[in-house]
Symmetry: C2
Subunit: 341 residues, 2 copies
């Protein structure tokens, strides 16, 4: 039997706060390269690192009833190339997207492979603007946020993979867009590169009141709030919503390192929903998987024409995966965070 | 000039916590009975006392930009009879609904009068099931709650004017209904008279976790939460929502005696919206004023047929109005709270 050496990151322990080396183990083993009918052998070139992975490590039920199983390969999307194929339609060297997680190689049935056209856009966009983050941004904004031209759209986590796309999609809807991010450099990028009307570094504010006063001064009030972050930023914005505002809960990353188990305390603000007849709606990318073609139909031409900024922050080396995941919550990345094999 | 002696409750001071005698002043004065073109003189028989009145006393903007003006008659709806008329279509003795507030008599232009048909139902229903509370319950449930047969609908403040109607309307939609109220007597009434499937006395629980455990045990999970109360009850329910649950924010009365100025702290729970792709929607009765006929068309026949319980708690005497308002937040009333002139 022919084999190759495969490396895997095994999820060993549920983190309480931040993710460290003790929660994962790097193992090496031999993978048989003998292919069954319809199977291909793939080698991962790019690994996706996404905030949802931390949700799956919560000890309480989330969008899945059960947490990510211990002692298995960390799940996640990859961009890979075909090393050998027994699957009709897949040839050696083809680029594919798969969900084989944090392992260098895998044998996968064709039903678990999605072809990537490298002529359309860089292959990594399958993990970003033309993949799950793009779908999240597009449908979260259009189906839940429903922005109109001239309205004020505020995006938290605006320099992240999803947020940076929401900023741009909202601009294309004719909205006036405020991006909120951590640090002056990200804010400069939001204004100068993504063309946000305004950007605010939330770390420069001591509390929700002073942050809110600045948001109010810039925008006058908020029609759509696309929330990736939660916590103090959300506390600042809810009292500023306009009549019939739409709040999209896409993520709450400020709460992922413990707050999903034992909720933080924050101000009770639901009376503002009543005052403004506003809506809070939670959205999950998987609900729009079957409508991926709608998003691609609209967004792929913009990508091809170079009209969308799809920044990537690349961390080099399979060994860096757990640290890369943790850096989503602490780090200075811009756009989509990827690990290169 | 002919006059009559008119009594008024003047709103003098903004309350911080509970409403007491110092916030209102009872004044007596002479009202000219000389009628202009199209005017009628009315005498109030029934005064409405509603939680929204306390919202209007907040020092911060609410659904109105400005709070209830000081040194004016407390606004509110009344059921009155015509004492004299210079208005075509209104005759002495006619029953009308008006918005003349806490005063015994008023001269009102016909445009400010709405005829009540005393044959259709008791005239007080114009302040309850066939008035603003009925409209709130009906459109809040049908337009925001959108219950389906077989779903679980939970109602907080379930023994109140709005809540007691929501319980019944939800049952008519085929839902399984849990009413939450304060005290065993209200719960017995919810089960035995309103036919709620379950009732819980939230005062019997020390915290949101133990209350939530009981709600979970009874219902299994919540599809629609019609919230009149907020606070601990809402904290208990949000972690129990089912996929695509709809939370209707109709009131937050647990927060009205201070929490609208300085929000209480409570657990951050917005991640559950994401997990369950759920919706929180604020609703206000005034948004459905123009659709009143839709509600009346459906609900009035039920009222006429005796199929709807529209309990009233009556406090006797104009002098009791401020105390009656305060008792909304502390008292033991069931159904619609009215003050009889």
């Amino acid at each position: 039997m022919t084999t190759l050496t495969q490396q895997q990151w095994i999820y060993r322990r549920q983190p309480v706060g931040q993710i460290t080396a003790e929660h994962y183990e790097l193992v090496e083993q031999q993978l048989s390269t003998t292919l069954g009918d319809g199977e291909a052998l793939i080698e991962a070139r790019w690994f996706s690192v996404d905030p949802y992975m931390r949700i799956g490590q919560s000890s309480k039920p989330t969008y899945d009833t059960e947490p990510h199983p211990l002692n298995t390969v960390q799940q996640g999307a990859v961009v890979a190339q075909v090393l050998a194929s027994n699957a009709p339609g897949f040839a050696v060297g083809d680029w594919v997207q798969s969900y084989t997680g944090w392992q260098t190689h895998a044998r996968v049935h064709a039903s678990g492979l999605k072809r990537i056209d490298p002529e359309l856009a860089p292959v990594t966009t399958a993990l970003g603007v033309l993949g799950m983050p793009g779908r999240t941004a597009w449908f979260g904004l259009t189906e839940s946020g429903k922005p109109h031209a001239g309205e004020v759209v505020v995006v938290s986590g605006a320099a992240g993979a999803v947020g940076s796309l929401v900023v741009q999609f909202a601009k294309r809807h004719g909205a006036r867009v405020l991006g909120i991010a951590g640090g002056a450099a990200k804010c400069d990028w939001l204004r100068n590169v993504l063309d946000a009307d305004w950007a605010i570094d939330y770390k420069a504010y001591a509390d929700a009141d002073t942050l809110g006063a600045e948001i109010k001064r810039l925008t006058g009030g908020v029609d759509v709030y696309f929330d990736n972050v939660g916590g103090m930023v959300t506390d600042a914005i809810i009292p500023l919503i306009n009549r019939r505002a739409r709040i999209v809960i896409c993520g709450q990353i400020s709460q992922y390192s413990g707050g999903l188990e034992t909720p933080e305390l924050g101000p009770r603000l639901l009376h503002h929903m009543l005052y403004q007849r506003a809506t809070i709606q939670g959205m999950l990318a998987r609900d729009y998987l079957h409508r991926m073609d709608e998003m691609i139909h609209i967004v792929a031409p913009w990508v091809k024409a170079g009209e969308i900024v799809f920044e990537e922050t690349v961390i080099d080396g399979f060994a860096q995966l757990p640290a890369a995941l943790n850096s989503l919550f602490t780090g200075e990345h811009r756009g989509k965070l990827l690990v290169k094999a």
